[in-house]
């Protein structure tokens, strides 16, 4: 009765998680455990972001608990210089109304990994050995680069010679290191892909990294408000060994199981066939308007419109040039046509070595190149379609070439040029989804994740907003045409 009453008030337990597989899975396990306790309802807010964001959510009460690691709380959140044990952490967190509990049983420490064959060749066995090889190329997750217990501290602790490392999405780092674009990356000890990609984890021989015991980071009031649920969570203590966690990560990342299923399987194994699952499964709408919606939208807009702006700056003059000289026209139009025929993934793959990096820059370059053709072609067509009588009239007035272009020719061609820009923008909205595959973000991130995990709803949660954005861009340009195209050229 009491549980029902609380649920009716909208008082549910909200579990958060960070943006990587393990956190998603642990978040699901916590959520399903609460549901199974039957005391109140639970909701999983998955993949909220990095530590700072998820911690802020916990502090503000937007979430009640999330899976975290002791080392992260110690160094990153409390910024302690020395290592604290669980009791010490709790003493420091109590004034914030927060606590850590339920050590889950594994230590997911940060570690650095290198290709096994390269380690062999260079004779690198431990982190200390890195000091002798300043030529190694570093690709670290942005979080590792920025964290207090991350790169800067490690570099000092080992006296490493390297300059600024390259930022790379953790999910992409494995491919980048496997095909030799980077030599060294940060990994978690429980990553599923270490073996798959034949990497060697370098031992932390100076014990720089603190322990990263997986724990439940929670608001103290949760334990008081929902004692049955809290007891259920406490039963998870020491149930997940390192190997068990690696296995679950592999189930999601390599075998395509969704996070809820992996979590459900684990709980069923713990408690027999009666385990409850599925009630906390996120629907499509939750996935669509998940917390990353704003960030992905901003990234997508940046990719589309920055590349479009650059393209306009280059393509319109090229189109004007082509319209002046037929020899030029042949070259410009066929070259931009050839670019258009290169498949987008191939173009991205080609641009990564050109820029020597993944992410936004090569993605912008690819979108810029794709946008050239429609704009060049339409500028050329718009200018060459101006009737001879009008071009001669402009000439006959005695207007020099530049004012003629500005006052007469460009305004007359504006409708066609704008149509080309509109086409380019719409194509860019679609093509920009590919950019996620090289770590440039945007809606494609969900498509990539949905594909990786074989989750169609997540895939649609990326594809649908991209389609809507394409429509909005189309309408936006239709409106713009009314502003920009001279009144005298519009239908009466």
């Amino acid at each position: 009765m009491m549980a029902l009453g609380q649920a009716a008030l909208g008082d549910e337990i909200r579990i958060g998680s960070k943006r990587f597989t393990e956190s998603y899975i642990l978040g699901e396990i916590l959520t399903q455990s609460v549901v199974a306790a039957g005391e109140t309802s639970a909701a999983h807010k998955p993949g909220l972001g990095n530590t700072a964001i998820v911690f802020a959510a916990l502090k503000s009460g937007a979430i009640d608990a999330y899976p975290e690691y002791t080392g992260t709380i110690d160094k990153e959140i409390l910024k302690n210089a020395t290592v604290s044990d669980l009791a010490s952490l709790n003493r420091q967190l109590a004034p914030l109304g927060l606590g850590v509990a339920v050590p889950l049983g594994f230590n997911n420490t940060y570690a650095l990994a290198i290709r096994a064959d390269q380690a062999e060749k260079l004779g690198i066995k431990t982190l200390s050995d890195l000091a002798k090889h300043p030529e190694l190329r570093l690709g670290f997750s942005q979080e590792f680069i920025g964290r207090a217990d991350g790169w800067d501290g490690l570099k000092r602790a080992y006296g490493l010679p390297f300059a600024t490392p390259q930022g790379i999405d953790h999910g992409l780092a494995y491919d980048a290191i496997a095909n030799g674009q980077i030599d060294l990356t940060d990994i978690y000890a429980t990553d599923a892909k270490i073996e798959k990609f034949k990497l060697r984890v370098l031992p932390d021989d100076r014990s720089y990294f603190p322990a990263y015991e997986a724990v439940v980071f929670y608001r103290l009031d949760v334990a008081l408000r929902f004692p049955k649920s809290w007891t259920a969570l406490q039963r998870l203590t020491n149930t997940i060994a390192d190997r068990r966690m690696i296995h679950m990560n592999a189930e999601a990342e390599l075998n395509g199981k969704d996070f809820a299923t992996v979590a459900g399987d684990f709980l069923r194994e713990q408690r027999g066939a009666a385990a409850v699952r599925g009630s906390s499964k996120r629907g499509f709408w939750d996935k669509l308007f998940a917390e990353d919606f704003g960030r992905l939208t901003a990234q997508h807009l940046l990719l589309v419109f920055v590349s479009l702006a650059l393209s306009i700056i280059v393509a319109v003059p090229l189109g004007i040039w082509a319209a002046r000289s037929s020899a030029m026209a042949k070259w410009v139009l066929s070259l931009s046509g050839v670019i258009q025929t290169v498949p987008s993934l191939a173009l991205l793959a080609f641009l990564i070595p050109v820029f020597d990096r993944i992410g936004t820059l090569p993605a912008l370059a690819a979108l810029f190149l794709y946008a050239l053709l429609p704009i060049v072609r339409n500028t050329y067509a718009g200018l060459t379609q101006i009737p001879l009588s009008l071009r001669e009239s402009a000439s006959a007035l005695g207007l020099p070439a530049l004012p003629r272009l500005r006052l007469i020719e460009l305004p007359l061609a504006m409708g066609t040029i704008l149509a080309g820009i509109k086409t380019a923008a719409i194509i860019n909205v679609g093509t920009a989804t590919i950019a996620a595959f090289i770590g440039a973000g945007g809606y494609g991130e969900r498509i990539a994740q949905g594909l990786a995990l074989n989750d169609h709803e997540t895939l649609l949660a990326g594809a649908v907003p991209a389609a809507v954005l394409a429509l909005l861009v189309q309408w936006g340009f239709d409106g713009l045409e009314r502003w920009i195209i001279p009144a005298g050229l519009r239908a009466a």
């Binding site: 009588s389 009008l390 001669e392 009239s393 402009a394 000439s395 006959a396 007035l397 005695g398 207007l399 020099p400 004012p403 006052l407 007469i408 305004p411 007359l412 504006m414 001279p486 009144a487 005298g488 050229l489 009466a492």
Partner: protein, 254 residues
């Protein structure tokens, strides 16, 4: 010869397209403050001649002098400021209002607003257009109104020379008749050197102080309208005049 004060002088001007002579070598001068009509069948070279005089197309040989200055690629733009040019459909820029069409060049040359307004009022009165009409876009104007605006545009800088390429060719007969009357009055009032291209003999006779009849890039005969009627140079002239007169002439014709 160069001391000749003729506003337009052509020396051995030839133009060929793809090896075919559109214009045989032509030496020609136009007299100041008179209206000369270029006439002939389609493709006789009359429009080509006009465009060579504007510098819109380069002659294959020979040279053109405008008011004693040799027309070159470099000075063509400046020389065109001394020439008004009107074509068959007006050549008005559809994206600009009639007023903007008329004032475009003056604004480019940084005329004061005061001077522009005064000149537009003067020209509107001359071509009998209401100032309100000038606020419209070309597509909102009738064919006759468009040609009046085109004439205003051509006259904006008060050029001594006016070149017209079938200016009334696209108009219906009634409007055309009216505009012929008005144009002739305007020409005689302004005392410009006018060169007009037409293929209509009655129009040529109506406007021309002098008529130049062309055929296949050659000048066949040049003279006052009555000369051509009474002393045709050859059978072509006779045939051309007769064909033209046969169409619209009322009963009093011979």
């Amino acid at each position: 010869m160069k001391s000749d004060s003729s506003p337009i002088q052509l020396y051995d001007v030839r133009k060929s397209f793809n090896g075919h002579d559109a214009l045989a070598p032509v030496t020609l001068s136009f007299r100041s403050a008179t209206t000369t009509v270029l006439i002939g069948p389609s493709g006789c070279g009359k429009s080509t001649l006009l465009r060579v005089m504007m510098g819109l197309i380069q002659p294959s040989a020979g040279q053109v002098e405008i008011s004693g200055v040799k027309l070159t690629h470099q000075n063509a733009l400046a020389l065109r400021h001394g020439i008004g040019y009107v074509i068959q459909d007006g050549g008005l820029f559809p994206h600009l209002s009639a007023a903007s069409n008329v004032t475009l060049l003056a604004r480019h040359l940084n005329w004061t607003e005061q001077k522009i307004v005064a000149r537009v009022q003067q020209l509107a009165a001359l071509v009998r257009l209401e100032l309100g009409t000038l606020q419209r876009y070309p597509r909102e104007l009738s064919g006759g109104q468009q040609q009046r605006v085109a004439l205003m545009r051509a006259l904006m800088l008060d050029p001594p020379i006016l070149l017209l390429d079938e200016p009334l060719g696209a108009l219906d007969p009634v409007i055309r008749f009216e505009l012929q009357e008005e144009l002739k009055a305007i020409f005689s009032q302004l005392k410009k050197t006018v060169v007009m291209v037409t293929h209509d003999m009655s129009e040529a006779a109506f406007f021309g102080d002098e008529i130049i009849l062309m055929r296949a890039g050659h000048i066949v005969q040049r003279g006052a309208p009555m000369d051509l009627l009474e002393r045709p140079a050859d059978a072509f002239v006779t045939a051309f005049i007769r064909a033209q007169r046969a169409l619209p002439q009322p009963a009093h014709a011979l």
